[in-house]
């Protein structure tokens, strides 16, 4: 039963619960009209303390397509935060008006903290600093299911900024719960996977390298990520690392015919635009699935999925 629950990190839900969200997303994709009024009369609070295009739009589009409505902000300087209000007070106030809240914040652990102040309103973590991004993970799982038939027994290459990449942290922890998944972590040494994520994995399920060319032929899924300027203290360090990996047609020649390339977007230079036309490039499909999976999640947390 997911009604009234929070989603702060993927581990908050069992695999069966995640499967039920995927199945609902499949149903919504097959019959969007059937779900266009299930959230009528419901309000989603969209609390974005950090810039976002895809995640915010996909949540807001998801709620509107379910027949619900939205309140919120995308610039904290327009809210009482600028007057020094605590997160706890903000959430307790928002709960007076809203049925469900989505929060993005630059500080790690924010969503877990605010979930302690919400009495009945489900909180969805839409990204907290470099920590977690569980709804991107749901998006990724739906994409993998669609293109690879399921999430078990894949060799998953994760490439780029593994230190600050919150989408990656959530995805790796999640995929590790499926059967027979192996990881190849590809990054410069400065941006390696942090020990608190590696701590979740058995040593035999992952390898680490800085050479994408050497391993690309072994992969079933290649998950690329952006080196995020906003996470760096030193601009010089960012400039040195930002183009460390560029996936292009030449590299793709060595990949399996059925390998898929994923990316949470936005992309900067890490995937050359010439790869976009390759049928193995599925990152724009991911963006579309993101809205459907968020529709399914909202409906589940509000307990309205069966109301047609």
């Amino acid at each position: 039963m997911l009604k009234g629950r929070h989603l702060i990190e993927p581990g908050d839900f069992s695999l069966d619960e995640i499967e039920s969200i995927m199945q609902l997303a499949d149903n919504i994709i097959a019959n969007p009209e059937g779900y266009s009024l299930v959230c009528k009369g419901k309000l989603l609070a969209s609390l974005f303390y950090e810039p976002s295009t895809r995640t915010r739009f996909s949540f807001e589009a998801a709620m509107l397509r379910l027949g619900g409505e939205i309140i919120g902000f995308d610039d904290p300087s327009n809210s009482s935060v600028s007057k020094g209000e605590s997160l706890g007070d903000t959430i307790r106030t928002i709960e007076c008006y809203s049925d469900i809240a989505v929060i993005r914040h630059p500080r790690e652990g924010t969503a877990r903290l605010v979930s302690k102040f919400a009495k009945e309103m489900p909180i969805i973590n839409a990204g907290d600093g470099g920590h977690e991004h569980p709804t991107q993970t749901l998006t990724d799982l739906l994409t993998i299911r669609k293109f690879k038939g399921g999430c078990d027994h894949h060799v998953v290459g994760v490439c780029g900024d593994l230190l600050f990449g919150r989408t990656i942290h959530s995805l790796v922890k999640m995929l590790n719960r499926y059967q027979g998944v192996k990881f190849v972590f590809i990054s410069p040494k400065e941006l390696r996977m942090p020990e608190n994520i590696l701590g979740h994995l058995d040593a035999h399920v992952y390898t680490e390298t800085d050479n994408l060319d050497e391993v690309i032929g072994d992969l079933d899924i290649l998950y690329m990520s952006r080196v995020q300027r906003e996470r760096f203290v030193s601009e010089e360090e960012y400039l040195r690392l930002k183009n460390y990996y560029v996936l292009d047609k030449k590299k793709m020649k060595n990949a399996k015919a059925d390998m898929i390339v994923m990316h949470p977007l936005p992309r900067v230079n890490e995937i050359a635009t010439e790869v976009d036309d390759d049928p193995r490039a599925v990152y724009f499909n991911q963006a579309k699935y993101g809205m459907y999976v968020r529709m399914a999640l909202i409906a589940k947390l509000l307990g309205v999925e069966d109301k047609k």
Binding site: R107, E108, G109, R112, L113, D128, H131, P194, G199
Partner: protein
């Protein structure tokens, strides 16, 4: 060897790793109590080569959690009427509530007032704990 008179009542914190005694003295706020407190440093020890030791002539309760975090190998002896009646060997607590602070500069607890932060033991050897909010690993005593 300096001699310190036998304790009539109170607590003897023994087998403290040499150099950790003052840390324990500070964390237990022993400076604030009015009872007799003795801190002995660098005592020769057969087992440890050198050790620290604290004697407190008091009825006060000790927060074992803090002691376990600073030095999980210490022994605590409880004394009544000049006799030792209870001996406890500490271990690292599995969960620590409200004592530690997260060292991750990006953690929300550095910016918002959070009353009690829970930490979960993840690596006994390195004495590492995981912050309940940001999941970063941290230690009670700063790592070298």
């Amino acid at each position: 060897m300096i001699n310190v008179s036998k304790l009539k009542k109170g607590i003897i914190i023994d087998h403290i790793e040499a150099g950790h005694g003052f840390e324990i003295y500070k964390e237990l706020h022993l400076n604030d109590i009015e009872d007799v407190v003795v801190l002995l440093k660098n005592i020769p020890s057969k087992k440890m080569k050198q050790k620290d030791l604290i004697k407190i002539e008091t009825d006060m309760q000790i927060d074992m959690t803090v002691l376990g975090l600073i030095d999980p190998n210490v022994t605590i002896n409880f004394v009544k009427n000049g006799e030792m009646y209870k001996k406890i060997k500490l271990t690292l607590p599995k969960v620590v509530n409200g004592i530690m602070k997260c060292r991750n500069p990006r953690c929300i607890t550095q910016y918002e007032t959070v009353k009690e932060i829970k930490f979960y033991l993840v690596n006994e050897e390195k004495k590492q704990y995981r912050c309940e909010y940001c999941d970063a690993y941290t230690t009670f005593i700063e790592e070298d």
